[in-house]
């Protein structure tokens, strides 16, 4: 199967005063469609930076990102073009949910579609289906700040899923949740990759959660030290 997203020799460093810290030291990686990937590593290993570079939120110093075989840095080289590309292809889930407090659950889920002027009846049907599936349908008209952390994260998952985007990036999606809720969220993410053929690329430092992924990518000091398929590992 060909890779939907591919990173080649990604390097990134940050300047802090007089010193420069190299966060990523040449990462090569490929992602396939319909799979759940977890990028793990200790604090400062560069996992979040890699996620932001892969999703086009941040630029790499060196290296290339390919989406369906096309170099995205070259093709979408201005803010407007990159924004549109992101809107069509990438969805995001964050540790702190990042829901708009002025909107209800339903409005939050539909927001990306509304911004793209693509909130069709078909999408509303999909949204209802998603809300039922993840257990927030009865709270659809509530303000999001009245929901619990786990419920808010479900809303962000639904918001990511309702889009046609083939890839969902999740930055520590359970970092703000208790163990029980964390397990439920990862189960949901995995289910979504199966049901809707999405690629989910998640960052976590929790190995128990990572073990639920199809593939685990371990970073250490800016280098990808291990990439394994959990299923093959388990079968081995």
């Amino acid at each position: 199967m060909s890779a939907i997203l591919k990173a080649e020799n990604i390097k990134k460093s940050y300047k802090s005063g007089d010193s420069t810290q190299q966060v990523l030291k040449g990462v090569n990686i490929e992602f396939e469609r319909g799979r759940l990937y977890c990028i793990t590593g200790a604090s400062g290993s560069g996992k979040s930076t890699l996620l932001y570079i892969l999703s086009g939120l941040e630029e790499a110093d060196e290296g290339e990102i390919y989406f369906n075989g096309q170099r995205i840095n070259e093709k979408y080289n201005n803010d407007k073009a990159m924004s549109e590309f992101r809107r069509k292809n990438f969805a995001f889930i964050f540790q702190f949910f990042n829901l708009l407090p002025v909107l209800t659950v339903e409005e939050n889920i539909l927001l990306p579609l509304s911004l793209a002027k693509a909130a069709t009846d078909e999408k509303r049907k999909l949204m209802n289906e998603l809300m039922k599936k993840i257990g927030i349908y009865d709270k659809r008209n509530k303000a999001v700040n009245l929901l619990s952390g786990g419920e808010q994260q479900r809303v962000s998952i639904a918001r990511a899923m309702v889009l046609d985007c083939p890839i969902i990036f999740a930055d520590e999606p359970t970092g703000n949740l208790d163990h029980q809720n964390s397990l439920q969220i990862y189960s949901l993410l995995k289910q979504m990759t199966r049901d809707y053929n999405k690629t989910v690329i998640s960052v976590t430092h929790d190995m128990e959660m990572a073990s639920m992924a199809d593939s685990i990518l371990a970073l250490k000091d800016g280098i990808l030290i291990r990439s394994l398929s959990v299923m093959s590992e388990k079968s081995n």
Partner: protein, 817 residues
């Protein structure tokens, strides 16, 4: 050191506080520098114009011993003479002033327009205005005096300020030395004007002295200077008061907001410091020191800028006058704005958390963001209704209370009006947000803007509150000037029935009587009112006295008795008098009261038999019956017969009264109206310019609140960026949102401005001693201009704020917590 770090950590808010302090201190210092210099200039001008003259006497009867009699008076410290005679220069009628320039020692040195002292010259001297009236001509002029014509040359142009002129400015005045006159025309010169220095004397001393020369027309220069000084000073006091009110309202409101924001954003920090063992007092000191430091920097910069700008304004108005520095008391007062106010506000704000446990402070931080867990719309609906009802009740109530209470009720009504409008606009925006459901699919950005405004009610209300306060204040203030001017003019027009008003008729009583007789017989004249007006004293306060007959009062005045509501009548008895409403209110005088009034020479006991709605001299007026007071006529009012061309009639009267030497002040009804309009509040141009400064500071405060509003939502914008909304789209959403807020706010402010106009006008007119105005007037052009100015300034600031969003990376914003 920690305070410095706090400044760095709160750089946005601290920059705003610093900027506000600098602006305020600058305006404060520059204004007071200008006012101080203007007062100083007024004294200088008085000194230049009048020199040491205390009284001027005119001898119209040619009594040769008058000069000697005056010289021999012990009270006279010094005396100078002139001879003013009618003459003609070419085809122009002129007044020829003959004097000894070198010995005319009561005036300051007589100077030419280059400021150089001139002595006796062989030729004539003119003022530049007179030269304009004369027009340019050949070097030599044909001067005719007493039928003898000689050719004379212009020897010098006089600085009119350095010369006390008797005649009107529209008359050609020609000056020559006594020696030049003698050598040109020969013969004796009749000394007919005497300028007298009585030393350090009061108005009553001058009056007493003048009584000894009842054959002469006398002018008390001391009285004239006193009045000029009082009127000018009063205007400046109003100017300073208005500036201070404006500054206090806008700046203190802004400083309070900044302090509140800093503390609210630093609750976690304070909580942490408390957790590790710092007492509340010690934590408070860190923030107090922070504002003290900002205040000290702001004071230093503001004082420097204030001195520079103040000197620049003085230079543009008066020319170079040396480098002026503020008085120490002004510098001390500026510390209230720069140091005391920020310190007090910061202490008040941090003091609110004194009783909170450290852990509670940490928890408070968690709730700082979006905290509208409940729908607040009911609160704003209730508030708008409550404040509006309160406003109406106060408006009704103040009509039945005294002036002091009226001012207090008016001040509360201003607050109620602003709050009612602020809450009402929030409700309107909430209702408009219903449109977001329609727009969400078609115009999502607009829908989001509408939702943001409706759901962030506290922040929206806060921005609206500032906008409404600033704009309503300005609209109210501009309407104050406009209303008082218009009202004064209307009242005066309504008060008098005459067509021609003649004052300052500096002639002997015989001549005046002769002229009155002549005018009365003119076929165009229906009736002539002859009265005397003069300043009187009532318990140390200056009031205007009108002395005329009862029938004249009835025919020439349209005054209404405030008690009966009928036309006021002047009593026909010795003690009976009627007084103005404003005087009655100020002195708590009632019908039947006995008052003792004085004209500096005599005292009279009068009984108040009526109170009327007079406007003359701001209502501080008493009308007395001429039967019992022996004052000469100095006011003449003429009513023409029906169908007479008023302009032509006025010209006829002017011709009848002009005798070449003393031309009285002759004004039409329209001119009287215009002069009252101009004089109602003097010096308002300066206040109006200062108001523009205050509005600029106000908009700055406002945009700072907008910055807070936007800063609190950076994660929200970052999220939208992540979702594929471009930076331009984000900026468009913000711009649309804050423009909608501004438009709604400005519309509300105009309503609030119109409502508070009533209160502002009442407060201003009562405190100025004018009494309540008859009707309120709105200056549409000023309302539009100030609204537009604030809107443009706001849009420019908004553009600059939004540009800052560009510098934020999505990652940094999305991770903010």
């Amino acid at each position: 050191m920690v305070s410095l770090k706090l400044i760095k950590a709160n750089s946005d808010n601290c920059k705003s506080i610093l900027f506000a302090i600098v602006l305020c201190v600058t305006v404060f210092i520059a204004s007071l520098l200008y006012i101080d210099y203007s007062l100083h200039d007024m004294e200088r001008e008085i000194n230049e114009k009048y020199g040491k003259i205390d009284a001027v006497f005119y001898d119209t009867k040619g009594e040769s011993d008058t000069y000697i009699r005056l010289i021999n008076q012990e009270e006279v410290k010094n005396i100078a003479w002139q001879s003013n005679i009618p003459a003609s220069l070419g085809s122009h009628s002129i007044i020829l002033h003959i004097l000894d320039f070198e010995n005319h020692n009561l005036l300051n040195d007589i100077k030419n327009i280059d400021g150089k002292v001139i002595g006796n010259l062989d030729g004539i001297c003119l003022g530049s205005d007179s030269l304009k009236l004369l027009g340019t001509g050949p070097d030599g002029f044909e001067l005719t005096v007493n039928g003898i014509t000689k050719t004379v040359n212009i020897a010098n142009i006089l600085d009119e300020k350095s010369f006390y002129e008797v005649a009107n400015t529209n008359q050609i005045n020609v000056y020559m030395s006594e020696g030049y006159y003698a050598s040109t025309f020969g013969g004796e010169i009749a000394k007919n004007v005497f300028l007298v220095d009585l030393g350090n004397v009061s108005g009553s001393d001058v009056a007493q002295f003048s009584q000894k020369f009842d054959n002469l027309i006398s002018h008390s220069i001391v009285d004239k200077i006193d009045l000029h000084r009082k009127e000018s000073t009063q205007s400046f006091i109003y100017a300073v008061s208005f500036i201070l009110i404006g500054l206090i309202g806008v700046v203190f409101g802004g400083l309070y907001n900044f302090s509140k924001t800093i503390i609210s954003e630093n609750i976690e920090h304070i909580g942490f410091l408390r957790t590790i063992g710092l007492s509340h007092q010690k934590a408070a000191v860190l923030y107090q020191n922070m504002v003290l430091l900002l205040g000290a920097i702001g004071e230093a910069v503001g004082v420097l800028l204030g001195i520079l700008i103040g000197n620049l304004i003085i230079y543009s108005r008066y020319g170079f006058a040396g480098f002026i520095l503020p008085k120490p008391i002004v510098l001390l007062a500026s510390l209230v704005v720069s140091i005391a106010a920020p310190y007090v506000f910061m202490s008040m704000e941090i003091g609110k958390y004194k009783k909170h446990k450290p852990i509670r402070l940490l928890l408070l931080y968690r709730n700082q963001g979006y905290d509208e867990s409940e729908d607040l719309i009911n609160k704003y609906v209730t508030n708008s209704i409550f404040y509006f009802v309160l406003f109406i009740v106060l408006i009704i109530a103040r009509n039945s209370v005294n002036d002091n209470l009226t001012m207090i009720l008016s001040a509360i009504a201003v607050f109620a009006a602003v709050k009612a409008v602020e809450s009402f606009v929030v409700v309107v925006l909430h209702m408009l947000s219903a449109l977001s459901y329609i727009f969400m699919d078609t115009r999502p950005h607009l829908a989001l803007s509408l939702k943001n405004l409706a759901r962030n009610k506290k922040k929206t209300a806060s921005v609206l509150g500032t906008l409404v306060l600033i704009l309503a204040f300005h609209i109210g203030m501009y309407n104050v000037f406009y209303t008082i001017r218009t009202d004064a003019a209307n009242k005066v027009e309504l008060q008098y029935n005459g067509h021609v008003f003649i004052t300052k008729y500096n002639q002997t009583q015989d001549v005046i009587n002769e002229k009155i007789n002549y005018i009365s017989k003119l076929p165009i004249v229906k009736s002539v009112e002859t009265s005397h007006s003069r300043f009187l004293t009532l318990e140390g306060s200056r009031i205007e006295g009108y002395i005329l007959s009862g029938s004249e009062f009835e025919e020439f005045f349209n005054l209404v008795d405030v008690k009966t509501g009928e036309k006021a009548r002047l009593p026909d008895n010795k003690k009976g008098a009627i007084i103005g409403e404003s005087l009655a209110k100020k002195g708590n005088i009632k019908v039947g009261d006995t008052l003792t009034i004085s004209d500096n020479l005599n005292t009279y006991e009068i009984t108040v038999e009526g109170i009327c709605n007079a406007y003359e001299y701001m209502g501080n007026v008493v009308y007395l019956n001429e039967k019992y007071y022996s004052y000469p006529v100095n006011n003449i009012t003429v009513i023409f017969k029906d169908g007479v061309d008023i302009d032509a009639g006025i010209e006829t009267i002017k011709t009848a009264l002009s005798d070449g030497v003393f031309t009285p002040n002759i004004k039409s009804r329209e001119e009287i109206k215009e002069s009252y309009r101009a004089n109602a509040i003097k010096g308002t141009m300066f206040i109006e310019v200062i108001l523009v400064f205050i509005s600029t500071i106000g908009v700055f405060m406002l945009t700072n609140q907008v910055i807070q509003f936007i800063n609190g939502r950076t994660r929200e914008f970052a999220l939208m960026r992540v979702m594929g909304t471009s930076l331009n789209e984000i900026m468009k959403i913000n711009f649309a949102e804050f423009i909608m807020l501004a438009i709604a706010g400005i519309a509300g402010s105009v309503i609030a401005g119109l409502l508070v106009t009533w209160e502002f006008v009442d407060i201003a007119s009562i405190s100025a001693g004018i009494g309540k105005v008859a009707s309120y007037h709105y200056n549409t052009s000023s309302i539009l201009m100030i609204s537009l100015y604030i809107f443009i300034l706001y849009c420019l600031s908004l553009g600059l704020i939004l540009r800052r969003l560009k510098n934020r990376t999505i990652i940094a914003s999305i991770k903010e917590e």
